[in-house]
């Protein structure tokens, strides 16, 4: 019951946050010099036609009116029409957003499951050569730029070995009955591996190093000594007592990492020609496609906030000392 109340409370905060985000994004784009007409229409266009276009997009109205119209639309689920595509924003973003979500979720899952396991392993073998090697490797991988890692992986696994496709999301010409049919197909999986691993490698170091530090702290605790005194096996002490408790700070950074991963997907999507939202955002901002950019930012904001909420709920579930 308390959980339900908490989630309801949080959801209302989410709504408020999104509203503020929307307002900021709306005005921010209009403050940036340049307007859609000058950006993508041949400047030779005569003045009348330009004004006509502005009117068509509704950009001739006062800023305040534009804002009210936009907010009203969003409340009705209408994010406006993209200037560039002349299609409803939702139609353009919709599937691309899901593509990005599939990619980032997969990479986060890989990054956190591998990171947590590796971090606890390194801590358990602290002050050994394995620990040193692992820590240094984690730092090196963390420092490597995403596009560079991506290109290296492409060179090795796509060009040289020819095990995996070069890019894109599906083989050209393949047909799928639905979105779900597609993402659970082997073809999709093959395309997903490299970008997901590239992105995961980048996100992996933080949970690895944090888990390691957290484990090292926990190992010193008295309840670990008591767990040994109880006659538990090494494995049980490590998993049930040490890892379980050390996990807590790692959950906290999950939300942060999720936000970073979605933002960082721009580079991965470009390298692997992944039809996600990252590239769309860059295009939309560059061409001053206001509705498109606003919609995309709202989706990103929503996802980040959702991951935060998820992390909070997960934390409260994992740590009985925290009540929601």
């Amino acid at each position: 019951m308390r959980m339900t109340k908490y989630i309801l409370k949080r959801l209302s905060i989410v709504a408020l946050t999104l509203f503020i985000l929307l307002t900021i994004v709306f005005f921010m784009f209009r403050v940036i010099p340049g307007d859609p007409v000058s950006m993508f229409i041949d400047s030779g266009l005569d003045k009348e036609s330009q004004e006509l276009m502005m009117k068509m997009y509704g950009l001739d109205k006062p800023l305040w009116d534009q804002y009210v119209i936009y907010i009203k639309g969003v409340l009705h689920g209408d994010f406006g029409n993209s200037f560039t595509y002349s299609k409803p924003v939702l139609d353009v973003i919709g599937e691309r957003f899901l593509n990005t979500l599939v990619l980032t979720t997969t990479s986060l899952l890989i990054a956190f499951s591998v990171g947590i396991t590796a971090g606890s392993y390194l801590a358990w073998h602290r002050n050994t050569k394995i620990d040193l090697f692992g820590t240094v490797m984690a730092l090196i991988i963390r420092c490597a730029p995403v596009f560079w890692t991506g290109m290296i992986l492409l060179t090795v696994f796509a060009f040289k070995l020819d095990w995996l496709p070069l890019g894109g999301m599906t083989t050209v010409g393949s047909n799928f009955t639905s979105f779900w049919d597609k993402i659970f197909s082997l073809d999709f999986l093959k395309h997903l591996i490299l970008p997901a691993i590239t992105s995961a490698l980048y996100s992996m170091a933080t949970p690895t190093l944090l888990m390691r530090t957290s484990m090292l702290e926990v190992i010193k605790e008295d309840y670990i000594e008591l767990a040994y005194a109880k006659g538990l096996s090494d494995r049980n002490v490590r998993i049930r007592h040490a890892m379980r408790t050390a996990l807590l700070p790692v959950v906290t950074i999950f939300a942060v990492q999720a936000g970073l991963a979605i933002g960082g997907s721009v580079l991965v999507e470009t390298v692997f020609r992944w039809p996600g939202m990252g590239r769309e955002i860059v295009l939309a901002v560059a061409s001053r496609d206001y509705p498109m950019a606003q919609g995309a930012f709202l989706f990103i904001g929503f996802t980040t906030i959702s991951f935060n909420l998820l992390a909070d709920v997960l934390y409260a579930y994992l740590d009985p000392r925290v009540s929601l």
């Binding site: 008295d222 309840y223 008591l226 005194a229 109880k230 006659g231 090494d234 049980n236 009985p320």
Partner: protein
């Protein structure tokens, strides 16, 4: 045969700048039914010694000499798996800081059943029933088994740990300063509880403390530890009435007596010896008011008395020293 027999046990810690001999050549017998008090000031090696007994030394600590015979078996040479089976089942612990000895993310009840299920073939339900009985025994409400450690007070946590230590009816319970972290009122409650439980318990106990009054209340034997060595061992009544080692005399002076005459407490000046250096002569020589040249080098003679032993070079004039030790001038520096 003694339940636990420590024979010339030495324990060393490897440090970045050399070795530290925390326990040096300690011998001790614990018979069935004994409650042995292990007293000494901080850093004298009490905790190291008991960790050595159950093989729980930190990775840089090692038993370098001697044997730990428990029911005829040398625990110090036992492999991990075999030792693990004995832990808690045969030797359980009441830890120094019960505050932090319970894992914060599990319910207290589950932490108790965990140890029962680890060692005994029992259903979860039966284990929980057993935990409930244990909670009755230590005076905690059964419903609190469902709570998490952070919902407990310090005294309750200590009771929960005591309940846990009794879970498998071990032959030996090692209580490492069970009352140190508690306030005085709770301290005396816990001590009373321990005393009451000892009435119905057939096994033995080693009670580590730096409080001599706790020893007087609870134990039948006492081992006084100083600088990594048990310098005096014997029957509690005899040791407290007629201490043989000057350090024990000093220790006795430093605690108030409830029944005796009212007098000022006398402290022992100075600090304990540095265990990372090799000690020549008596360990107590720098602080002992009775120090002579013969105390300053070589091994101190081992003197057996009626109920135990002690190490002091001036063993032939102890009665005289005891009289002097009662005077506060003796301890002035």
């Amino acid at each position: 045969m003694a339940l636990l027999e420590l024979n010339e046990v030495s324990i060393e810690y490897k440090l970045s700048n050399g070795k530290l001999k925390a326990v040096d050549n300690v011998s001790l017998n614990v018979e069935n039914g004994d409650v042995v008090g292990l007293v000494g000031e901080s850093g004298c090696g009490k905790s190291t010694l008991i960790k050595g007994i159950i093989n729980l030394l930190p990775s840089n600590g090692k038993i370098t000499n001697g044997e730990v015979i428990f029911e005829g078996e040398d625990l110090s040479k036992l492999e991990f798996e075999k030792m693990r089976k004995k832990r808690w089942k045969e030797i359980s612990m009441i830890t120094q800081s019960a505050m932090n000895s319970l894992n914060p993310v599990y319910r207290v009840g589950n932490q108790i059943t965990e140890v029962i299920l680890e060692h005994e073939k029992m259903s979860k339900h039966d284990a929980m029933e057993k935990a409930k009985e244990l909670f009755d025994l230590v005076g905690l409400d059964r419903a609190r088994l469902e709570d998490y450690p952070h919902q407990y007070s310090g005294g309750m946590k200590q009771r929960a740990i005591i309940a846990m230590s009794l879970a498998l009816d071990p032959k030996l319970i090692i209580a490492d300063e069970p009352t140190t972290a508690l306030d005085v009122i709770v301290q005396s409650q816990i001590l009373e509880k321990i005393n009451a439980l000892l009435e119905g318990y057939s096994g033995s106990m080693i009670l580590v403390t730096h409080d001599i009054s706790v020893v007087a209340q609870t134990c039948n034997k006492v081992a006084v530890m100083y600088g990594g060595r048990i310098i005096e061992y014997g029957d509690v009544k005899q040791v407290l009435k007629k201490p043989n080692h000057p350090y024990t005399m000093g220790l006795k002076n430093a605690f108030p007596s409830l029944t005796g005459e009212k007098k000022d407490l006398i402290s022992i000046e100075g600090t304990p010896p540095d265990l990372s250096k090799k000690i020549d002569g008596c360990r107590f020589k720098d602080r002992c008011p009775f120090v002579l040249d013969k105390c300053k080098s070589g091994e101190m003679p081992f003197t057996r008395v009626e109920s135990g032993y002690y190490y002091c070079a001036r063993h032939d004039e102890i009665d005289h020293l005891r009289e002097l030790a009662d005077l506060s001038e003796t301890w002035d520096v």
